[in-house]
């Protein structure tokens, strides 16, 4: 009795347990990858179009253009270009993508249509155009330094990942279209601005108008990658 061996545990029973462990871990990994997949842009990266060169201060820079818009929702109801038609179709969204690629030290001209209504910024500092050429933006054909901080639809605010060019910063407020609700009546504000891109690296952009959910307005689309945030890859 003293040498009685352990109960003959069938390897099969243990096999079931281990299968269970493995399945649990597998489910977790698949869930994570699924999750990660959900939040990467489904459309891919918009590579800036080269339109020649331009001379700035005696320096010759490559001149490229980007074109993207902001929409009151992600359903594609305006022009079919909202980026998350399958995700949360009611969330405001940039489109057609949230990832852009521009060359380093080039003059980048961005043409945007802003379709969304809006309101007051959390911090009026973002109502001023910063970091663009001349610190101005051409809004509906008019050059402006700043917009009314209480009538902003979104902002396009770019800064680098830690360790990238600290001098490269762009903030362009996008004025709201009239209307209290998220309107998708097709009205839009045209915003055009140019900036000189920084050195190579990953730069993140996001919107600083609290267009999301919850108290400070930064929940939902503001905190989920791809709707009101994205990357500017400088290569």
């Amino acid at each position: 009795m003293s040498e009685k061996p352990g109960r003959e545990r069938k390897p099969k029973a243990l096999g079931i347990i281990l299968t269970f462990v493995a399945v649990a871990i597998g489910v977790a990994v698949v869930a994570i990858l699924f999750h990660a997949q959900t939040y990467t842009s489904p459309v891919g990266t918009q590579v800036a179009k080269s339109v020649g060169t331009v001379t700035v201060n005696g320096q010759t820079l490559q001149h490229v253009t980007l074109a993207f818009n902001t929409y009151p929702d992600a359903s594609g109801s305006v022009d079919g270009q909202a980026i998350h038609p399958g995700g949360n179709p009611s969330w405001p969204s940039y489109g057609p993508t949230n990832q852009f690629q521009v060359p380093a030290h080039a003059l980048v001209t961005v043409t945007m249509r802003q379709y969304d209504s809006g309101g007051s910024l959390n911090n009026p500092w973002f109502a001023t155009v910063r970091g663009t050429v001349g610190s101005v933006a051409r809004i509906n054909g008019r050059l402006v330094h700043a917009v009314n901080p209480n009538n902003v639809g979104h902002t396009f605010t770019v800064r680098g990942a830690p360790g990238t060019d600290p001098g490269f910063f762009v903030n362009v407020p996008l004025p709201a279209v009239p209307g209290n609700n998220q309107s998708d009546n097709g009205q839009y504000e045209t915003v055009i601005f140019s900036f000189v891109s920084g050195s190579q690296g990953v730069y993140g952009w996001n919107c600083e108008y609290p267009c999301g959910t919850s108290v400070a307005g930064f929940g939902g689309p503001m905190s989920a990658f791809g709707y009101m945030s994205g990357f500017l890859h400088v290569v």
């Binding site: 003293s2 360790g163 108290v215 930064f218």
Partner: protein, 646 residues
């Protein structure tokens, strides 16, 4: 015993085909059906009636997850007996035997089973599973951080993984010793037939089981982006995943509370004759003291999470400053739970490791009573130190001095634990079997964790290191390098009793060296990051931290590989290992005096204790009766009552 037909081996008893009633048809499958079913019903109803409201999605997720938890418990049969009682019926003795798993073989591990040894093994598998998930997530984190601006995960998934890695590891470490060994070993150690409340015991395990899927579900509900500390108001504006996270914590806190009550009552009321408090094995003290602290800590977490849910679901504003609440309120509630909680994690494994040190140094535990006193002093102080996590929040700068005092005071009783370990090693006969390897590793790591903790307790230094990778490295050194390594020592020590097999020490030692070296590389990398000033929980970092991060990642892979090798050793031994004798370590506490495998109700004869289990090198205490032929039960400190038939 050589002749014994073992009348008490209840496993062989034939029960009537009606024994157990409804339980006969209930197992994990009906549990899952119940959980998914009630969850689906909850989803359908709340989706129908609540989706349109302001907090619709949060409401739906909360109701669905609560439905899952209740449905699982219903389906597995947790509420059968209470319902019977309410109807004026009771269960028969046969029903109770069925419930304890009599005559069901391995199937009982998949059921609501009241046998404390079955619950212990269930906990063990659950701990492995959760560590597996948490470890996998850690590898993903380290992979993201292998380069400064990696696109492996992206910020969303990274934050979600950081949160779940933290919570999964906290869940697993809280239960890693009190769950498996508090249930399997403690009742035998004190000479009890089972836990004081076997049904609550089963309930506490299945509550834990129910708590894990909502945690994993956070990944598909948008991800918790606020870390496991879920600081408000970020957590209030987090995606619906936060609701599932809250349900996890509520369920888990109930589980830990029930399990803690059970352990405390068992040790206080069910000790064998002669098992005075002075003779309690130190692990029993550790399990009781840790559980008692859990009873203090966990309710705070529950209260906080209820407030969090109401903030999110019904628009209260406990934690939202913009509408009258305060984020500091959450931080206080959280850390009132959070700091005691690290001692809930730490004390049981450390106490278990002291058993290992005593057994493998072949010496009594040094300064036993002082060490027990130190444990009590630690938990007493630990409830007064929480605001050291808030030195830099600006909440109450005037209290920084007092909290620095209590925090630094706690290093005095913690130092006593080191005195106990080195006092026990002093002039010992060091028997270098695998459990002792891990005990030495604990000693190495925990000193580093302790010393780096001193920097953080000092406010001026914390003003630099707070929220920094230095903190991450520090608490991994204490919780992984200290608590978890001590738990591995305890696991290797009790593995022969739990599995009936000897652990393969050759593979185990390979795993040991991989883990030991992996820990040092990983967390020295993180200390380096911390000194240089890298904040915690960042998905992208300044390239100046690149080399430190690569060092940490390499170490982390080695560490994980070491644990995988250890898992292989465990599985291999569990299936093919050498059968274990009843007392492979020639130790003296009661759990080694019972046969392996341990029969239902543990003791063939009720033990009588005449000495504490640390009489190494001492003459045997005067045995009441000579017992030349009867072996192996009981020897050492346990004695049969004279004249009782065996």
């Amino acid at each position: 015993m050589t002749t014994a037909a073992a009348p008490a081996l209840l496993e062989d008893t034939q029960l009537s085909s009606r024994a157990g009633g409804l339980y006969r048809h209930q197992n994990i499958v009906t549990g899952l059906i119940g959980g998914i079913g009630l969850g689906a019903i909850g989803w359908a109803l709340s989706h129908q009636f609540l989706q349109g409201s302001n907090w619709g999605t949060d409401m739906v997720v909360t109701v669905t997850m609560a439905g899952w938890v209740i449905g699982l418990l219903l389906g597995i049969g947790a509420f059968n007996a209470p319902v019977l009682w309410m109807l004026g019926h009771d269960q028969t003795h046969e029903d109770e035997l069925y419930l304890a798993g009599v005559g069901q073989g391995p199937r009982r591990y998949w059921k609501f089973c009241t046998d404390h040894k079955v619950v212990g093994v269930q906990y063990l598998i659950a701990v492995f599973t959760i560590f597996g998930v948490g470890g996998t997530l850690a590898m993903m984190i380290r992979t993201q951080l292998v380069s400064a601006h990696s696109s492996f995960l992206g910020a969303n998934a990274y934050n979600a993984i950081v949160s779940v890695h933290g919570m999964a590891m906290i869940v697993a470490t809280i239960i890693m010793v009190t769950g498996p060994f508090g249930n399997f070993i403690v009742p035998i150690m004190v000479g009890a037939k089972d836990m004081a409340f076997p049904r609550l015991n089963a309930l506490s395990f299945w509550l834990l089981f129910a708590a894990v899927p909502p945690l994993l579900a956070t990944f598909v509900l948008g991800g918790v982006d606020a870390g496991w500390t879920t600081y408000a108001p970020l957590s209030v504006q987090a995606p619906p995943a936060m609701d599932a996270f809250a349900i996890t914590i509520l369920t888990f806190a109930v589980s830990v509370t029930l399990s803690g009550i059970n352990i405390i009552v068992t040790v206080l009321t069910m000790r064998a004759e002669g098992m005075t408090l002075n003779r309690l094995p130190i692990f029993t003290w550790g399990a009781v003291i840790g559980s008692a602290l859990g009873l203090y800590a966990m309710p705070a977490f529950m209260v906080g999470m209820v407030m969090m849910i109401t903030d999110r679901v019904s628009g209260t504003s406990f934690f939202v400053a913009a509408v009258g609440g305060s984020g500091w309120l959450w931080e206080n509630i959280f850390w009132i739970m959070g700091h005691p909680e690290v001692y809930v994690i730490l004390i049981p494994p450390v106490a278990a490791m002291l058993e290992v040190v005593s057994t493998f140094a072949r010496k009594p535990i040094f300064a036993y009573k002082v060490t027990v006193g130190a444990f009590i002093a630690i938990i007493a102080l630990s409830i007064m130190v929480w605001a050291h996590h808030m030195f830099t929040t600006g909440w109450a700068p005037d209290l920084n001095g007092p909290f620095m005092l209590t925090t630094e005071l706690i290093s005095i009783p913690t130092g006593i634990i080191f005195l106990c370990v080195i006092g026990t090693l002093w002039r010992g006969s060091i028997w270098t079997r695998l459990p002792m390897y891990w005990a030495y590793l604990f000693l190495w790591n925990f000193i580093i964790g302790g010393v780096t903790g001193i920097y953080l307790s000092d406010v001026p230094a914390d003003n630099y290191f707070h929220g920094d990778m230095f903190v991450t490295a520090h608490f991994h050194y204490t919780l992984l390098g200290g608590a978890m390594i001590a738990a591995v020592a305890a696991f290797c020590y009790w593995f022969p009793k739990v599995s009936g097999r000897m652990l393969n020490e050759r593979i185990g030692k390979v795993a040991f060296w991989m883990v030991a070296i992996g820990i040092q590389i990983t967390y020295f990398g993180m200390f380096w990051e911390g000194f240089e000033g890298m904040p915690r929980r960042v998905a992208y970092y300044d390239p100046i931290f690149l080399h430190a991060n690569q060092m940490a990642t390499v170490g982390a892979y080695l560490l994980m590989a070491g644990f995988v090798v250890l898992l292989y050793a465990i599985i291999h031994s569990w299936v093919h290992g050498r059968p274990a004798p009843a007392n492979p370590w020639h130790a003296k506490s009661l759990e080694w005096m019972v046969p392996t495998p341990v029969p239902l109700e543990n003791f063939l004869v009720e033990p009588v204790v005449t000495a504490d289990p640390y009489g190494y090198g001492e003459p045997e205490p005067a045995a009441p009766a000579a017992e030349p032929e009867r072996e192996p039960v009981p020897v050492g400190s346990a004695e049969t009552t004279a004249g009782e038939p065996v």
